[in-house]
Symmetry: C3
Subunit: 121 residues, 3 copies
C-alpha cells in the first residue's frame, strides 16, 4: 500500500498516511517560554493543523501519547485538553513524564488518526 | 472507515477499534500501594478485560509499550508478564522508565491489538 | 486478519505484521559500552535487519519513536540518523528521554512500517 508523506523533510515527515491511518510525528509547542496551558494549546493547534491538511479533524484521532516534561503539569494539560477534545469521539490516550528535546518544552503529543473518508489519491 | 470507541468518556476512550486494529488507552493498576507484581497483574487483567470486550484475547496483541516508574522493577514486571503472555503468540514489546500519572503507580502499558475475526458491526 | 510474528520468543516477538503494517519491538544496540554514534548505528542496523526479513527497507518506515537515556545525545543520534534515513521517504518521528532497560544503553527505537508489496503468505 502506497504511503503519503506530509511535508517530508530531510530528517522526518510531519505525518505519514497509510490508507485510512495517519501516523503523526511528535507535535510540539512553538513558544518554549510559555506555561503548560499555552504550550498544550499550541500542540493541540498543531494536531488540528495536521488533521486539516488531510481533510480530517481532532474527531478522527484514534490514540494519543501525551509526553510531559514534568508530571506536575498533568492537571494543567488536562484542563486545556478537556475543552478541546471531541467529547463524543475521544481517542484512547496515555500520559507519561519524559525528558523532551528542547529546554523549556513542557509537552509533546504523538498521535495516530483514522480518516473516515480516505482521499482517492 | 468508521471507528468503534470503547467506553468513551469526556477525556478519552478506553480503546478505539479501526477495522481489525485496536488501539488501547494506557492500562493502569487499581491498587497504587501494591508492589510491582500485583500492579503488573492488575494491568494485564485490564488488558484481558478490554480484549474480552472485543471478543479477543491477549493472543491478539500486536505491540505493547511497558512503562515503568522505576526500571528496578523490570525483572519483577517480567516475572508476571512471562507467566501471562501467550508464548506461542507474543506481541512485539518495548520497555522504558518514565514518570507515571499518579504517585505509587509503578507500571502502565500501551497496546495495539489485531482481531483475527472482525465484528460485523 | 491473521498476524505474522517474526522470531517469536517466550516473552515477545521481534516484530508482528498485520497485513501491510509491521509493528517492530524496541530495537536496541548490541554494544552497551559504545558511544551514542555507535549505538545509534547498531539500532539502525537492527531496524534494517528486521525490514529486510520482510522484504522491505528503511524507506518503508511510517513512524519511529526514538528513546534516549540522555537527551544530551540528541544531536549525536541525529547525526547518524540523518546519514541513514531515506531523505525522500522519511517516517514521522518523535524523540524523548527515558530510562532504558540496561545500564549503558543509550538509545532504543520503536517503529511502525508499511510494506508497499504485501507478501502473499
Amino acid at each position: 500500500m502506497q504511503p503519503f508523506r506530509l511535508d517530508p523533510g530531510r530528517r522526518m515527515s510531519d505525518a505519514v498516511r497509510i490508507g485510512n491511518l495517519i501516523f503523526l510525528a511528535g507535535q510540539i509547542p512553538v513558544d518554549l517560554s510559555a506555561d503548560i496551558a499555552v504550550q498544550t494549546r499550541q500542540v493541540l493547534d498543531a494536531i488540528d493543523g495536521v488533521m486539516a491538511r488531510f481533510g480530517g479533524s481532532k474527531s478522527d484521532l484514534v490514540s494519543v501519547q501525551v509526553w510531559l516534561s514534568d508530571m506536575a503539569d498533568f492537571q494543567g494539560m488536562n484542563a486545556v485538553w478537556d475543552t478541546w477534545v471531541d467529547q463524543e469521539n475521544p481517542p484512547a490516550r496515555a500520559t507519561c513524564g519524559v525528558a523532551l528535546a528542547r529546554p523549556g518544552m513542557r509537552v509533546e503529543m504523538v498521535a495516530v488518526a483514522n480518516l473516515v473518508e480516505v482521499p482517492s489519491k
